[in-house]
Structures are given as structure tokens and as C-alpha cells.
Symmetry: C2
Subunit: 356 residues, 2 copies
């Protein structure tokens, strides 16, 4: 890269936050919906429709016009949808959910990224919410965080879980443990998506999740096949299972904690027992296509969610598994061409067998 | 743009804030300086050097490696400068000043952009600082805002002011009024950069600026040639001047306020009197190259600085000037190739003559 290209690249970083919020604000104000219903409206008409000053509306619309999302007609001074007109409603809804997640969970919190890295705490949650702890405890207390997080996660899970169960082998009669399975959704999905006869699935999580988890099992009609065990993955993982699932969890931790978890899983299994790990991954050479996760996850986990953690390269995950007595037998990585162009993570499934 | 391209573009917006802060954090932590001194350090060594956990350092460095700013050697696990090695120190300092400005003045404030547009106030300053008012009053009370702002402005002025005076005609003996001239820097620059014999330059601003302004004149040895008049541009502009300079000011206001200022300037001048306006501009067709200002200024002025204002298209400025009794006689726009690739605004000088 020439120095000129590097400096131009820095300009892209500089305008990242402004671009993000300018585009989102056009949706939040209702300008895009209004134009969808009434193409050709001027800034004055739009200002009246969305209760904002026309001068401000005009300012905000320069960027989406420049980007080709909207069109502007100089003669009539009217705006209309351009590229936005061709985006399917479900796609746009998914995008807006994620833009909101970035706004609520990240935009202000990122200001404290450097402090979060220095302290290993999510300083933004403390500064902005007076909250000591990570995002996953904060969502229990703060509705704005919870709503943004839950909506985003539901969309992500809806895409990833069916793909996960398509690629994980769970033979009939298996006894499956869903590690850090929260309130049972993973166990329910395991039972319902795998449809293997005689499956027994157990959610393992902190004891306070038990009540809601068992209620969920009953509500989904799987109470006969699913159960709950309370405990702490950093202490001991329950024995007596053939297959352990670790979904959306290992990425929350740095190496020492992540390998502690894997070691405890290893201790709980017999030789030949299986672990199936669902994690976002980075390419081993991050300059390879497609390394989109790198743009997002380090800042998210360190500055907004945990103060630690983040996805790893496949070679790193393999090393951790081997260090903890597993052999990685199969790796399945999402095909970038198979996920929506706006989706950030490339997920991987690491299947491994206990060797020692 | 195909729907796929549009969705991919949304992904770029989503990662804008994370990318911005991830890159800046590498500088804030001292990682880049450390690598400049000691190329080849590993994440473990860097963690020890900058007092951060190696796991977190490794996470943060994925992005600059992907982007080509840094290089990573898989064998030694060492990092070194890549494209960053070729950027001149002064260029990098300017970039870092601006990244800091975006962080301190914008990143958190932008969260409230939609509210700011709805209310015409800078809601972020109220929410984050408990401050009622615009950025330019807030900098007087809040040191973090002031320092970030002043450093950024000094760099911008150092580039733009010499260019401005190169392109503005101020004949010997002119009586010049620097409108909203703050504490005199513009007047001092006018006198010193134009070197026209017999020049008299007057700073016009709110009365409370007088003391510091006169001190500045004395300190720069221009007290004989420069003076101060206190007043309010929205009330009346002082008479008896041949040339009025309006630098870095008109952009702060929406149309009604901006044209009020221009009308008051018109009333103060004789027919044939000159006004020279320095403003950032947008291309008339914002899809034309180079519309870089559009990425930044609407969000900055509406959400972070004023709750109103922003640059306009050249045709809009021309219309406002004509509406206020001026004829635009000359327009000079910065050449994108002549400003640093990281610089955001394209400035313009609008020279106009009072016709009525």
C-alpha cells in the first residue's frame, strides 16, 4: 500500500462512525418508510412528515444519495428509493436489527475500548450504565441492552442453528449435554432438529436457570426427553454423556479460561466421546478472503461484551483442543457465498473426539 | 447496485464504528510505537510492553494485519509495521489528531443523532456532559472536548488559512472586517499573510472576546493595525468596511440563520463592497467525485456540534448570496489532489460583491 493509499484508508476509518449513524438515523426518523410510501417527496415535505427541520433532513439525505441508496431529482427536488427499493423486506429487517445492535451495544461503549483492554472489564458498561460485569449479565438489568441483544441473537440463531444441526452427527440413543445451554433453547433445538430416536438432551448451566429451562421444556413438549443439571463449567462438567455441544460460548473467553472449559469437558467424557463446538472463526491468514469477522469481533468482545475473548483462527482452536486431550476430526466453515452479504460472522463447527 | 451489493454495503456501515476504534486503540495502547521501535515482537511481548493481556493484543492486531497496516509472521509469531512504516511522521500525527477528534467529539454523541435532529439540540452533550448548548460553548467548560477540538482545528487552519489568503484579493489600504473572528487569529493571519500596505483589520465577535483578542494582537505585534468591535452578527454588523471575511462560520447554521447573517453583512457594506466566505462544500451532484465531506459533516454538525447547519452545495450558497443582495464573482474549490488523502473537507472560497 502506498502512503497515499494508507492515508486514504485512514479517512475511511474516520468516517465510519458518522456514516453508520447517518444511515441509521434516516431509518430511525422514518424517512425511508415515508419515501417508500410516497416517492418524490422534497426535504420540506419529508420534514413535515417526520417532524424534523427540512434543513436537517436535507443534510442527512446527502449520504444515502451519494451511496446510491436513494435518488435525488434536482429539478423536482424530490427524493425516492434507489438501491433500497430492490432490497427484500426480510433482508432489510435483518440489517436494521443489526444496525440497532451496533448502536445500542457498541457505539458509545467503544469509546472505552482502550480502557477495557487495559482492565479486562467492559468499562463502557460501567461508565454508561454504572454496571459492573459483562454484557450478558447487564442484559438482565437493562431493557435497552436486552431488547437490542435478544432481537439480534434470535436472528443469528435462526440462521446458524439449523446449519449447525445439519452438520453435527448425533446418533440415535445419544446422551447429549448442551454446555452453557442457558434456558434450554439449544436442547430443544437438538431434540427437534435432529429427530434421532431415543435422544436424551441435558442443559447444563448455572442453577438459577433451572426453573425457566424446565418451563421451556414443558412448553415445547420435550420434557420427557430433556433435563437440566445445574453447575459451573469452570468447576466440573457432569459425567455420563456421549456428546457435548458447546455453542456460542467458547468465544467469550481468553485462552486460559477456554482451555479450562475444554479440559473439564474432557474429564467428563469417556475416551471416544465427542465434542461439537460452534464458534466464529478467523482465517489463518487474515488477509485471505473472507475475513469479515475481523472487522467486528475483537472490538465487540473486548470493548462491549466481555473485556476478553473473541474468535480464534482455526489453527488456534485446533491447538487448544489437542492441548486438552481431543483430536479435531472434522471442521465445517460457513460458505461466505451461502450467508447473507450483510452477515458478519463466519461460523465454524469443530468436531473433536476425546483421545486421552 | 444489486440487492447483494446493497446488503454488503450495509455490512460496511455496521463495522464502521468497530473498525474505527479497533485501529485507534492500537495507537492509544502504544502498540504501534512499540513495534516501530522493536519490530518482530510477539503478542506476549507486546502485552508485557503495553500492560495489556496478550490475548487482547492478539485480537486487536487481527484488523491492522488484515488491512495491511501491520505484518504478521506466522513462524515467529512476530508483528511489524507494514504500510504504516512508510507513512511520514507528520502525516500520521495529523491522522491521529483527527481520529482523536472523531472519538472525543463524535463517537458517543452520534448515538443521539436522531434525537438531535428531532430537537435541533446537541442531545449528546446534554446526555454525556449534562451540557445545554452547542459544542463551541461546551469546549469552554469541558477540557477533554476543548483539547481534542483545539488540536484538530489548529491543524485544519494551518492548512486552509494560507490557501484562503492566497486566493482572496485584499487591496492595499482595505478596511477588513473578520466576522465572528473569535480572539483575533483570523485578523492576525489577514494582516501577516496578505502583507498589503495600509491594511486595517477588525475582529468582530461577542464582547466577551475583546480582552483576549487585544492581548493576542499585542503579542503578535499587530496592535497598530488590528482592532476589535464587540457585537452580535444576528443583530447588526458594523459599517465602514470594504471587505468582510466569513471564515469557518456560515456552516454552523441552517438557511434562516445563515441568510440573516448574510443580510446583515449586506446592510453594513456599500454597493461594491466585498464578502469572502470560507466554507466546506458539497458537489452539486453528490455522486460526483469528490464528495468526501458528505460522509462526515451532516452527522458532525447535526449530532455533535450544533444540532443544525452543515455545508451546502455550491448552487445553494450562490442562491443564498443572491437572495441577500450579492453577486458571486469567483469560486475557488480545493483540489482533492492537492490536499492530504486523509483530509475530510473540501473547502471553497466564495467571493461576492454587494449589488443592491
Amino acid at each position: 500500500m502506498t502512503p497515499e493509499a494508507t492515508l486514504a484508508r485512514f479517512r475511511e476509518y474516520m468516517v465510519g462512525p458518522a456514516r453508520f449513524m447517518n444511515v441509521l438515523s434516516c431509518f430511525e426518523l422514518g424517512i425511508i418508510d415515508t419515501l417508500r410510501e410516497n416517492p418524490g417527496m422534497t426535504a420540506i415535505q419529508l420534514g413535515a412528515a417526520v417532524d424534523a427541520k427540512p434543513d436537517a433532513v436535507e443534510q442527512l439525505l446527502h449520504l444515502p444519495v451519494k451511496e446510491g441508496l436513494l435518488a435525488y431529482d434536482e429539478t423536482s427536488r424530490g427524493y425516492s428509493l434507489d438501491a433500497l427499493a430492490d432490497v427484500a423486506e426480510a433482508d432489510l429487517e435483518r440489517v436494521l436489527t443489526f444496525l440497532d445492535l451496533v448502536k445500542v451495544l457498541m457505539l458509545r461503549q467503544l469509546f472505552y475500548l482502550t480502557d477495557s483492554v487495559r482492565t479486562g472489564e467492559v468499562v463502557g458498561l460501567k461508565e454508561l450504565y454504572g454496571f459492573d460485569g459483562n454484557l450478558f449479565s447487564a442484559v438482565a438489568e437493562h431493557r435497552d441492552l436486552r431488547e437490542s441483544w435478544a432481537t439480534g441473537m434470535d436472528l443469528g440463531t435462526a440462521r446458524v442453528d439449523p446449519w449447525f444441526f445439519d452438520h453435527v452427527d448425533i446418533p440415535p440413543g445419544s446422551r447429549v449435554l448442551d454446555l452453557a445451554g442457558n434456558t434450554g433453547l439449544g436442547a430443544i433445538n437438538t431434540y427437534q432438529l435432529k429427530k434421532s430416536p431415543g435422544l436424551k438432551v441435558t442443559t447444563f448451566d448455572l442453577p438459577e436457570k433451572e426453573k425457566e429451562c424446565l418451563e421451556n421444556f414443558r412448553a415445547h413438549g420435550v420434557a420427557e426427553h430433556c433435563s437440566f443439571i445445574g453447575g459451573d463449567v469452570f468447576e466440573e462438567v457432569p459425567h455420563g454423556f456421549d456428546i457435548v455441544l458447546i455453542k456460542h460460548f467458547l468465544t467469550l473467553f481468553d485462552q486460559d479460561a477456554a482451555t479450562k472449559i475444554l479440559s473439564n469437558v474432557n474429564k467428563a467424557l469417556d475416551v471416544g466421546g465427542q465434542v461439537n463446538v460452534l464458534v466464529p472463526v478467523y482465517q489463518d491468514n487474515v488477509r485471505d478472503f473472507d475475513s469479515r469477522s475481523v472487522d467486528f469481533y475483537p472490538a465487540f468482545f473486548l470493548g462491549c461484551a466481555m473485556g476478553q475473548g473473541g474468535p480464534q483462527k482455526l489453527s488456534t482452536y485446533r491447538g487448544w483442543l489437542e492441548e486438552c486431550g481431543f483430536e479435531m476430526t472434522k471442521v465445517t466453515v460457513e460458505n461466505p457465498a451461502g450467508i447473507p452479504p450483510d452477515a458478519l460472522p463466519l461460523q465454524a463447527i469443530l468436531c473433536a473426539t476425546k483421545t486421552a
